[in-house]
């Protein structure tokens, strides 16, 4: 089996599995919606305040939601042994891991991107700010999946994995949060967003390249 066929096979398999367990996918998405709804309740319905905090709140919500989803990334495959089969297969492991990461982003990151404008409306964001929010999430959530994947691989089968994972990866998410939410704020206050978008892209590209290798190194440690 050629490498690209292995990639698409893993991708299709993961997507099919995710669609068969819809509740797991939807839980993380609804978590995002609920968190975003809690902030106005806690802070008050003043639209000026809400507009001010919207970029940060929505980005932090997306960050936490994608972190919740991370725990599922390798867990099931680790338990039923298919991860070991992937490590043993002739296809390069980083490629298979990349397929898993892409599938994971498609089911956990992309819904956030698509939902964000709806939630942004509740915070009274202008159309242009909504577009910027979507764009930054589109560039930023893959980084979260890619960097978080390393943490998910390292905490496989470890005591208290979930809490540990959040302690490991949340500090690493800081740059994405800063530039993601920063771009929306810059858009609202009339500054250009070019620089923010460039930097988000500059974080995405090395993450796309290096993360599959780091993830498979971490998975091999876990499988030893």
């Amino acid at each position: 089996m050629s490498a690209s066929r292995a990639f698409t096979a893993v991708l299709k398999r993961d997507l099919r599995l995710a669609l068969r367990r819809k509740s797991e996918v939807l839980t993380a998405v609804f978590f995002f919606v609920v968190v975003a709804a809690l902030f106005p309740l806690g802070i008050g319905p003043e639209l000026n305040t809400l507009r001010l905090i919207a970029p940060g709140v929505l980005w932090v919500g997306a960050l936490l939601s994608s972190m919740l989803a991370l725990q599922r990334l390798f867990e099931a495959d680790y338990r039923d042994g298919s991860l070991e089969q992937m490590a043993l297969s002739p296809a390069p492991m980083p490629l298979l891991v990349a397929a898993k990461l892409l599938a994971h982003w498609l089911v956990s990151g992309l819904p956030l991107v698509l939902l964000a404008p709806l939630l942004g409306l509740q915070f009274d964001l202008a159309p242009q700010a909504l577009a910027t929010l979507m764009l930054t999430l589109l560039l930023g959530t893959p980084v979260l999946s890619l960097v978080g994947g390393i943490g998910a691989a390292l905490t496989l089968g470890v005591r208290g994995g979930g809490v540990l994972l959040s302690l490991l990866v949340l500090p690493l998410f800081v740059p994405v949060l800063v530039f993601g939410a920063g771009a929306v704020e810059a858009q609202i206050s009339g500054l250009g967003i070019q620089a923010h978008i460039s930097i988000l892209l500059a974080m995405l590209l090395p993450a796309v390249f290096f993360s599959p290798f780091a993830c498979s190194a971490a998975l091999r440690i876990a499988l030893e």
Partner: protein, 254 residues
């Protein structure tokens, strides 16, 4: 392979390193204590009162060296991690593990003394300044490393997983620092700069350098002590450790 005549890998063996660390330890500890005492004396007795900040500035003698150490130790951890993953040496993982608690301690000390300094100078215990924020995140990175390595029971797996997360963290530290600086300038909130300190009196500089040196030696001494403990724990099944322990138990000099 060994053309220089020096076997660099000799002390990579835990048994050899255990003896070397034991010999170095007392010297380092004594030097750290002496230099620390000298530094504190210079800082708190000799150095003149600052005309702007009064006596409050004297916490600089603890704050700045602690911040330096917290960053240096993370670099050292990354160094040992790279070494451990490339050469697969047992000692590297133990070194990284031994460094982490001291690094976390210094990061915490840096934050705490910073708060104590900030209150009289800026009127606030905490400002979201770029340096403070990145120091806080560095502290979180230490905690993450310690939590991960202590959650994994198998020491070899723990070493490798810790090494990987230490390296990923070290790559991220400059990015985090850069992004936080950017974020802070955008917000234009508390624009307090720690960098525009007036040219320091020579005696203050000396006090700070002495303290920094004392912290270095303290760190090395403590890390060696901790590594010795790790070595004994991991090599407990080997002959030389059993021999050492029985020799100690019967009152002989080890």
């Amino acid at each position: 392979m060994n053309r220089t005549g020096i076997n660099w890998f000799y002390f990579a063996a835990p048994q050899a390193f255990y003896g070397l660390a034991g010999k170095l330890l007392p010297w380092l500890a004594v030097m750290a204590a002496l230099l620390g005492a000298a530094g504190l004396w210079l800082g708190f007795a000799v150095a003149p009162t600052d005309f702007q900040q009064g006596e409050g500035y004297r916490i600089i003698f603890l704050h700045v060296p602690a911040s330096w150490m917290s960053m240096v130790i993370y670099l050292a951890m990354a160094f040992w991690s790279v070494l451990g993953l490339t050469f697969n040496t047992r000692l590297s993982g133990m070194m990284t593990r031994a460094l982490a608690p001291t690094g976390a301690l210094f990061a915490f000390l840096s934050l705490w003394t910073g708060a104590l300094w900030g209150k009289p100078m800026w009127g606030a215990w905490w400002v979201w300044d770029a340096r403070l924020t990145s120091e806080l995140i560095l502290f979180f990175l230490y905690l993450g490393y310690i939590a991960l390595t202590s959650a994994i029971d198998d020491p070899k797996r723990g070493d490798k997983a810790g090494a990987l997360i230490a390296i990923v963290g070290a790559i991220n530290v400059p990015i985090i620092y850069f992004s936080v600086t950017w974020w802070n300038t955008l917000h234009q909130g508390a624009s307090v700069s720690l960098t525009k300190s007036p040219s320091m009196a020579a005696v203050m500089l000396w006090g700070m350098l002495l303290m920094a040196l004392a912290f270095w030696l303290y760190t090395i001494a403590l890390v060696l002590y901790r590594v010795r403990t790790h070595i004994l724990q991991r090599e407990a099944h080997t002959e030389w450790v059993k021999h050492l322990m029985s020799a100690k138990a019967f009152g002989g000099a080890a």
